[in-house]
């Protein structure tokens, strides 16, 4: 066993992640993916008193504007899943709102392009 020599091994964290998440399960991947954008609710000006320090700091992070879930997780020391659970519970409480990631622009239909090309050729070609 280590520890007898005075150099104790790095002691584990005092508060374990499952206590911080209050034992809640992981949220649905569709609801909160890595690239979902999150921000603090506009109407939520007064800070609810009964949030854990971790939830408070997440709210602080999100109060400036939209941030992606991955980005928020990067700013904390917790595993990504734990951050997702916390964000989901904040959303449930109405403290956070999400925006789905910006949809990729749809490519124009190939047939239309061909028709336009043909039209242009017919007119100027």
């Amino acid at each position: 066993m280590t520890g007898h020599d005075g150099w104790a091994p790095e002691s584990p964290e005092l508060v374990r992640p499952y206590v911080i998440t209050k034992g809640r399960g992981l949220p649905d991947e569709d609801d909160l993916s890595l690239i979902t954008l999150v921000t603090a609710s506009a109407e939520e000006t007064r800070r609810p008193a009964r949030l854990s320090p971790e939830e408070q700091s997440l709210l602080d992070l999100c109060s400036a504007g939209y941030l992606s879930v991955a980005e928020i997780a990067g700013h904390t020391r917790f595993p990504l899943g734990v951050v997702r659970i916390l964000l989901a519970s904040l959303m449930e409480g109405g403290h956070l709102t999400t925006r789905p990631p910006v949809a990729r622009a749809r490519l124009a239909d190939k047939e239309i392009l061909e028709e336009v090309l043909n039209g242009l050729r017919a007119k100027f070609g």
């Binding site: 104790a8 992640p17 499952y18 206590v19 008193a49 320090p53 734990v82």
Partner: protein
């Protein structure tokens, strides 16, 4: 006269008289001898009894000491393994943080914490190792740490927070004692009830109040608890009953060695038990500095708060920017050495800060309503975090 001497009846009477006198004398002597013999035997008997009692006690003590030593080292190993496993789990949780595996890892982590706590409790009863040294932590975090060490942690609800920290020496014992209380509270109440925790500042320090909605304690159980918590300390694992009841024995020992108080003599407003942990001023300190992650990436974004004296060592880094490893002492709970108070734990300014906060709190409480102690407690914990504190009175 002569007619009497001729009377054979007189002679017979005389002879009988003499014979009786001789007989009585002899009997008396015999009785005295017997009495002496009996006294001698009695002395001998008590001597033997004492010797027997002493040797039995000595044998018992020896056996108990041996049990303690064996259990102590066995628990030391188990505690070490549990701590090691916890570190492995932490690593795994960061590694697989974005997969569904995390849920299972958190479950294992929970089981592992309970297992570590059991070993820790037995170690306390055997004067063993309490665990690795901890940094100063906020009262709230210590309570949450205790919450995480019991099976039904989801049923525990912390209703208020205070802006105080607990000195590094007291973190582990307070967390363990609270975990034992919470374990009792959740085990002896129905699964659909909530165990409430309120943290309050009081003139003597900080109170952590644990209320359950269970069936309460019988007079017999209450007497046992009072005995273990106040007057008679348990020693070793003997006399814990079957199935063994560790809780109050462990709490009593921790209270005595680390100088805080636990009482369970009132009943909760929900009909169960109300347990109150009183942490004296010596155990309290300013709020510890928050651990800030990734400081290299955003150095300016995280101003260093004017934290307690513990802030300095946490920030110490090598020239390469790596965190400097500090020498950590394992914490033993040998009764003699640990019971000495350490008055030089806080700097003057911090001491003043703590005392000032208490003074302000108690003054504002008294100013509001001097008669009502409950109200004084409430107003003294004025920090925004506890404004929604649950009132149970």
């Amino acid at each position: 006269m002569t007619e009497y001497t001729g009377n054979p009846l007189l002679w017979v009477l005389l002879v009988a008289l003499v014979a009786a006198a001789v007989l009585v004398g002899r009997q008396r002597r015999a009785a005295r001898a017997l009495r002496q013999q009996v006294q001698g035997l009695r002395d001998h008997y008590t001597e033997l009894e004492n010797d027997y009692g002493k040797s039995v006690q000595a044998a018992q003590e020896r056996a108990e000491d041996e049990t303690k030593t064996v259990l102590k080292s066995a628990m030391r190993t188990l505690q070490g393994l549990a701590a090691e496993q916890q570190l492995v789990l932490s690593r795994l949780q960061s590694k697989y943080g974005d997969s569904a595996l995390l849920q299972d890892l958190l479950e294992i982590d929970h089981t592992n914490s309970q297992f570590g706590r059991r070993a820790q409790s037995i170690a306390v009863l055997c004067d063993g190792w309490l665990g690795g040294r901890r940094d100063t932590a906020s009262v709230y975090d210590v309570v949450r740490s205790a919450q995480g060490r019991i099976r039904h942690f989801r049923r525990v609800d912390i209703l208020s927070q205070v802006d105080f920290g607990i000195t590094s020496r007291a973190v582990e014992p307070v967390a363990l004692a609270l975990a034992e209380l919470l374990d009792n509270a959740t085990s002896y109440s129905s699964p659909d009830t909530v165990v409430e925790i309120n943290i309050r500042t009081v003139p003597k320090g900080i109170c952590v109040v644990v209320d359950d909605a269970g069936v309460g304690m019988s007079d017999e159980e209450r007497a046992r608890a009072d005995k273990l918590l106040a007057t008679e300390r348990a020693s070793g694992v003997a006399g814990l009953g079957n199935p063994p009841q560790f809780g109050f024995a462990v709490i009593g020992l921790l209270c005595e060695r680390f100088g805080f108080e636990v009482s369970v003599d009132s009943s909760s407003p929900y009909g169960g038990v109300r347990a109150v942990v009183l942490l004296p001023h010596e155990m309290l300190t300013a709020m510890p500095e928050k651990k800030t992650p990734a400081p290299a990436a955003r150095p300016a974004a995280r101003p260093v708060p004017d934290g307690g004296p513990e802030a300095a060592p946490a920030a110490s880094r090598t020239d390469d920017g790596l965190p400097r490893r500090r020498r950590k002492r394992p914490m033993a709970i040998v009764p003699g050495s640990s019971s000495t108070p350490r008055p030089a734990g806080r700097s003057d300014s911090e001491q003043a800060q703590v005392m000032g906060a208490f003074q302000r709190g108690t003054r504002s409480g008294r100013g509001a309503e001097p008669e009502n102690a409950e109200n004084a407690d409430r107003t003294s914990s004025t920090s925004g975090a506890s404004s929604e504190g649950h009132e149970v009175s």
